[in-house]
Symmetry: C2
Subunit: 322 residues, 2 copies
């Protein structure tokens, strides 16, 4: 019996990093690796880096990649689960069109590759193996660069016509702040890490005092990562506190609106910002949600994603359970 028997690869493709894992059938992680997402080139370059990350993870696990049952991918953009093609992944380099990601990776790695929506596979991972296990109906909220959402309704993933779960684009303020999607007043325009960074720059350029950018440079970053936000909070940076409060207000409002539509048992908060701040901001977030929840006598449970950063890769590997 080959050491890879029953194991699958999982790759979470993000705008900043590629996270790969070698995962057992019940979600146990045998090896993992992380690479930076290329910021230049095109989809083929991204696919090559993904394959390399998977080989790194296999090596760490001591598993021959060829022995894996297959490789699942959680991808941003418009994913065709049937063909494995990904379109309009606008936070990835040169990916405005359609690219046959499953085919490219499959040829490189020599095995079957399946592709799913990144946020949806992470939600299903939390549902089956993480913080969502006790429930039948959850909303996954992935608070990172943007704000993504995934739905499991009565045990089944809900994709709508393919674009369900776009909770980052629930409107929280008509004619409000401009979102990266071009629209106005979306939850993401206040709560997304990228929007928060834009606002911090605007205020900083306008003369507002903040340590955010000093901390960013000190830690060798070229953007305000969740770690930079955390350090600035530890420093008692006023602008940071203000922008975090603003983000949590928007999150609470938008998530409550989604709950008013679906009345789920639980909300699972993941993503880079969600995993980092989920515990420390859970009370303010609950409070903001309660202001707008219609059934406020029995609010949904609120949990931080239990699989943390690896949830995306684990969820991707679960594409081979179906």
């Amino acid at each position: 019996m080959s050491p890879g028997a029953g194991k699958r690869g999982g790759i979470d493709l993000g705008g900043t990093k590629i996270q790969a894992g070698i995962v057992g059938p019940r979600g146990k992680v045998y090896g993992e690796a992380r690479r930076q997402t290329p910021t230049e080139g095109g989809p083929a370059d991204v696919a090559r880096e993904m394959a390399a990350a998977l080989r790194d993870a296999a090596e760490q696990a001591g598993v021959d990649p060829a022995s894996l049952q297959g490789v699942g991918v959680g991808s941003p953009g418009d994913v065709d689960e049937r063909t494995g093609e990904v379109s309009e992944a606008r936070n990835l380099p040169g990916w405005e069109g359609t690219f046959p990601l499953a085919k490219a990776l499959s040829e490189d790695l020599g095995m079957e590759v399946r592709v799913g929506n990144d946020v949806q596979v992470a939600t299903e991972a939390e549902f089956r193996l993480g913080a969502g296990k006790p429930y039948r109906t959850i909303i996954g909220v992935f608070w990172g660069t943007g704000v993504g959402g995934g739905l499991v309704l009565d045990g089944r993933p809900w994709l709508g016509r393919g674009a369900a779960g776009e909770i980052g684009h629930i409107v929280v303020k008509r004619n409000g702040a401009r979102c990266t999607c071009g629209r106005k007043g979306c939850m993401e325009a206040y709560a997304g890490r990228a929007a928060m960074e834009n606002e911090a720059r605007r205020e900083h350029d306008g003369g507002e005092k903040t340590d955010l950018f000093k901390l960013m440079r000190k830690h060798g970053r070229d953007r305000l990562t969740s770690g930079v936000w955390e350090r600035a909070l530890e420093h008692g940076d006023k602008l940071t506190e203000k922008l975090m409060d603003r983000a949590v207000e928007a999150l609470g409002t938008g998530v409550a609106s989604a709950c008013n539509v679906l009345d789920p048992e639980a909300v699972i908060l993941g993503g880079g910002m969600g995993v980092r701040f989920g515990e420390s901001y859970s009370e303010p977030l609950r409070k903001e949600m309660l202001k707008h929840l219609f059934a406020d006598d029995r609010p949904p449970a609120l949990h931080v994603a239990a699989l943390g950063d690896l949830g995306g890769a684990i969820g991707a590997s679960l594409l081979f359970d179906e």
Copy 2:
């Protein structure tokens, strides 16, 4: 064979009126009657008036009420479908607590009575017999005194934990207008007929010119019914136009947010205001929705409820199909 064989009663219990119908298994209406909802007394008085409305409808249909297969009720408030109890129907007189509506009606009428949520049964009626027939997944939007919503997802009613579909309480503007529910910025706080009337009074009291209240009195009404709004529009009343535009903006924003969560095939617009203004305002509503729809290259279809005012009673009768 008795003339009532296969026929059911359906009663739609609203804050203003009780609509009863005698309905065949495929939704054909054999008789109908309408009574004013009592504004004084308590749940037992309301139940008595409901039974009377049903007897009126049976008489119109030439059917012996005792021969009906049963009577379904669509009720506001918190409905327990299993027991037929209704709690906290706050737009009905003295109904803050819990009342055994199915039991009271069943004793009065001498037959089985089932109770469902008013908006949900109306949504299912549109799904099975009305404008939603071509689709598997719809959102029903009932624009009346308030704004209610019902969901059918992949052919199945979605109730969540009992309070799903509260789309009137999707937030469209953080810290916005005060809603009748006590919260701030709900869609209903701009689009509900009651909220529109409050705003019209405020503006009128503040010196704004309008024919709304003159038309109300002229037609013997004590509130701004959808008919009064329609006549004021025909008069070119400026305040009316302004408040209608404001309502449609809020509706478009909130419904788009719900669509961003669920990605449905169609939105069905019903309710007193929805049925009256759905056609004439469909283009402005579509336009407002498009501003906020994430998947704006394939917006959901938008239809006016095909069963009109009778949808609620027909939907209630369908409780005997299950």
